[in-house]
């Protein structure tokens, strides 16, 4: 063996050691939890430990589809998940345009102010958001008191109890909370665009809108597509906190998304861990399918794989 191949080998060991900690992290935090899927195949009732007596095979998967009512329930939950994720996906260009327009503001102070104000809500927990929503929107809340005082309405409007336009309202809350935060990525991307491009365009007499259309947006598209893909793979993962705090008996039919359904099952009394594990397993599989689907789509359309 030559000395050069030896040192090459040595180097590859060393480089492997460099990534090893991250491999361990991924294994511990991303792969080890998959072991928990085993619960879906057992009749698990804490605190009784596992035993083969409680092995039930795919019973819990079947139960979700066998009975008409359960099937309807699962469909309803999926409908809500798809609807709300769909709306979010449909408007996923919003942060990009927000970032672009924000970038056009020439008054630096004002720009920073807007950016801070829109980013801040991201750090407020949903529980607090609901408290604010309750104080503002309940029957005795600020909005109704104010509107009644100035004679705008006679009887309070019950915003929280109503299920009208609930998906859209949920999207508004989400956008209020996330817009500024989601725009950060695009703001960073804009600042990395070669300034010579802008200067050249300006010399050629391009207007601001034209610069946006022909330079800024095309430069941001790769970022947009990567984020879009990530969003698609998170399609079923629209989180439960928001819907958990806003759910009530009037809107649950439209607001109970997959994650919330899993949570509601696993926290009911007594908890139904096995079934909720089975459900969340199905979710992961569907997410994978969506991810690869989107990637194939990207390959076909942009001739370029993202993964």
């Amino acid at each position: 063996m030559s000395s050069s191949s030896k040192s090459k080998k040595m180097r590859s060991y060393k480089e492997f050691l460099l990534i090893l900690p991250f491999l361990i992290l991924v294994a511990v935090f991303s792969y080890y939890p998959l072991y928990g899927w085993i619960y879906a195949f057992f009749d698990y009732q804490p605190p009784l430990p596992f035993s083969w007596d409680s092995f039930v095979g795919t019973k819990w998967f079947k139960i979700l589809f066998q009975n008409k009512s359960y099937f309807k329930q699962t469909l309803q939950v999926l409908r809500n998940t798809f609807a709300m994720s769909g709306i979010a996906l449909l408007f996923s260009w919003l942060p990009m345009f927000f970032a672009i327009f924000l970038n056009e503001i020439k008054n630096l102070r004002f720009r920073k102010f807007v950016q801070t104000v829109t980013t801040l809500p991201n750090f407020i927990s949903w529980v607090l958001v609901y408290s604010v929503a309750f104080l503002l929107m309940s029957n005795n809340g600020m909005f109704n008191s104010f509107a009644m005082d100035i004679g705008l309405i006679d009887t309070p409007i019950d915003f929280l109890k109503s299920n009208q336009h609930i998906w859209f309202k949920m999207w508004l809350w989400l956008t209020w909370k996330n817009l500024g935060w989601a725009a950060i990525m695009y703001i960073a991307a804009i600042s990395s665009i070669d300034t010579e491009l802008f200067e050249a365009a300006r010399v050629d007499g391009a207007s601001r809108l034209r610069i946006i259309r022909h330079i800024t947006i095309p430069s941001l598209l790769p970022t947009f597509f990567v984020l879009l893909l990530l969003n698609i793979s998170n399609f079923l993962n629209n989180g439960m906190e928001q819907y958990f705090v806003f759910q009530n008996s009037w809107n649950r039919e439209y607001i109970q998304v997959l994650d919330l359904y899993v949570y509601n099952l696993s926290t009911s009394k007594p908890p139904v861990y096995s079934v909720s594990t089975a459900l969340s397993m199905l979710k992961s599989i569907v997410s994978l399918v969506l991810l690869f689907g989107a990637n194939t789509f990207s390959k076909v359309v942009r001739k370029q794989s993202i993964l």
């Binding site: 060393k14 900690p21 804490p46 605190p47 430990p49 009512s69 029957n139 005795n140 008996s249 926290t267």
Partner: protein, 572 residues
């Protein structure tokens, strides 16, 4: 080159430590500096408490007492704070806590899975359990796989009265409204719930806002505590002699009908709330507000109808009583209240020891021994002698100090000599006691809770109660109910009911959502037709989720309870 290598190794070590959770826990316990007269080594006792509403180290005056007496610090784990998953997580790790407080069904499962330990040997050394040997024997022998003379668990809130006695002077649940407002609208005699709606409407017309100008309502409800059905409704079904038990309405003579029976009390109470809402006396935020918001409404007299006995604590004081402002029970002629007796055999939960370590077991047992001794119970139910109460001048038991009367309500500061902090925060945060407050204190011959002390009974006679007694010709609400045949006391038996199988739990979870959602919509339905149609749809929908199986399961399960009740009645 070498330097780089060293860097890599250090980086890996740091990573490894991050992954393994930053090394071992620091076992050294900090001395809180409270000063201890004890020779015992300091221990931290982890308490897993199902009913606790507080998580963390026990603060305040109780912490001082426990530190002084046993040199222990309690670290409380509360599933109600941490989330129910913590039970599964901790039991999977094989350790729930040194001391555990669990529901009966969980106690049984924890014995099976080896999470709690047989402490019969320690029991022999303890003194306070002797008085309750009968109840302990009954309870432990009812557990599967526990032999005779073996002790695993102690039922909570036992009493030394009798299985059929009901000691308190106010019932567990009854229509209760502010006395001055009731008198103001002419103290009307009420035949039925419709009359109650009328009374509430009349009161709300006179008092649309409270003193501070915030809108008040006849009734305010909250969804936080809902289980299989609306908890607020469940409390009111007892006015008509039926108790909600999952999918079953159980009556005082042991008959069972399903929750969704058209003639059952559940629908009747929904109808009452619906009519009340039609009359405009239900707080429109009822379905969306949480307990915190309700709490503040009760504290500021923004709701006129209350039902549970403990709700009176939000408002009633001696001073307000003398101003005729206290909440008082007002009878409805067609009611017959389902009233469980004193929890002689325990209230449905139990204490158990969850540590293997003999030294820790012994310390936990010392704590339990104290918690069931008159000394401990006086402290837990009455507070600090010299701060909350003192010896009564006539020698008959104790009397509350002026600060003791409001210490709980106001969360008053406690003097440094007793441990400082705030009074309510410093109460035993396990939130469960060995004997109920109505048990008789052998030291005084009266109950442990203040309102059973003769001096306090005397003090509680305010302008409100005097007028009330004149109007209803009875000493107190329970006296009235018994005299007029408006309550039936059922023996409170403490039995281990069969836990749900996963299949049943799944049915229950899905049906519960249907029942709750439909019930809330019914209360706020726009007319009777909508009310009826939601009810009928609910019944159809429930069938699809195998509601019948759940009803069958619950019936079979509750039969055990019914049989035990019959036994308790016959043996008395």
């Amino acid at each position: 080159m070498k330097k780089q290598f060293r860097f890599i190794i250090v980086a890996m070590l740091v990573m490894a430590m991050l992954v393994t959770g930053c090394g071992k826990k620091d076992k050294k316990d900090k001395d809180t500096g409270l000063g201890t007269g004890s020779d015992l080594e300091h221990m931290v006792i982890e308490v897993y408490s199902q009913p606790a509403n507080f998580q963390g180290e026990q603060p305040g005056w109780t912490a001082k007492i426990l530190k002084d007496k046993f040199n222990i610090t309690l670290n409380i784990i509360a599933p109600q704070v941490a989330g129910g998953d913590i039970f599964a997580a901790r039991s999977a790790s094989g350790f729930l806590g040194d001391l555990v407080v669990l529901d009966n069904a969980d106690i049984q499962a924890c014995i099976k899975s080896g999470l709690i330990y047989d402490v019969s040997d320690h029991m022999k050394k303890m003194t306070s359990f002797e008085e309750f040997k009968n109840q302990l024997d009954v309870y432990n022998s009812s557990l599967d796989g526990v032999g005779e003379g073996v002790y695993y668990a102690w039922p909570t809130e036992m009493t030394n009265t009798s299985p059929t006695t009901f000691t308190p002077t106010i019932p567990g649940t009854a229509p209760t409204i502010p006395w001055d407002y009731y008198a103001e609208v002419g103290a009307p005699e009420m035949e039925n719930l419709s009359d109650l709606v009328k009374t509430l409407r009349a009161i709300q017309d006179l008092h649309p806002t409270n003193a501070a100008g915030d809108p008040s309502y006849g009734i305010t409800l909250w969804p936080d505590w809902d289980g299989t059905s609306i908890e607020n409704v469940n409390q009111l079904t007892k006015w008509y002699g039926q108790e909600v038990n999952g999918s079953i309405l159980l009556d005082t003579s042991g008959n069972m009908i399903e929750l969704t029976d058209d003639s059952g009390a559940y629908r009747r109470i929904l109808q009452f709330f619906f009519e009340a809402n039609q009359a405009g006396v239900v707080d429109p935020d009822s379905g969306t507000q949480n307990w915190d918001s309700v709490n503040s409404k009760f504290n500021s007299k923004r709701a006129f109808l209350i039902w549970n006995d403990w709700q009176q604590g939000f408002w009633n004081t001696t001073e307000r009583g003398n101003n005729r402002e206290n909440y008082m029970m007002v009878p409805i002629n067609d009611m017959n209240i389902y009233q469980p007796s004193d929890p002689f055999f325990g209230s449905g939960r139990a204490f158990a020891v969850g540590t293997k370590d003999p030294a820790k077991q012994e310390r936990v047992m010392m704590l339990l021994d104290w918690m069931s001794s008159p000394d401990g119970l006086e402290t837990i139910h009455g507070g600090i002698k010299g701060f909350n109460y003192e010896d009564a001048p006539d020698g008959k038991g104790y009397i509350r100090t002026p600060i003791g009367e409001t210490a709980l309500m106001d969360n008053s500061p406690v003097p440094e000599e007793f441990g400082g902090g705030l009074y309510a925060d410093g109460m035993l945060q396990i939130n469960q006691w060995m004997q109920a407050g109505v048990a008789t204190n052998p030291k005084t011959g009266y109950g442990y809770v203040g309102n059973l002390w003769p001096a306090e009974v005397e003090k509680a006679k305010t302008a409100t109660t005097k007028e009330w007694s004149e109007r209803f010709d009875a000493e107190n609400p329970v006296d009235y109910l018994i005299k007029n045949n408006k309550t039936t006391v059922v023996p409170f038996v403490n039995v281990n009911l069969a836990p749900d199988t996963t299949d049943i739990a799944l049915i229950r979870s899905n049906c519960a959502t249907l029942v709750k959602d439909a019930s809330w919509k019914m209360v706020f339905a726009k007319d009777q037709a909508e009310f009826d149609s939601i009810w009928n749809t609910l019944k159809e929908d429930l069938d699809g989720f195998d509601w019948n199986k759940l009803v069958e399961f619950d019936k079979e399960k509750l039969q055990v309870l019914v049989d035990e009740r019959a036994k308790a009645l016959n043996s008395n």
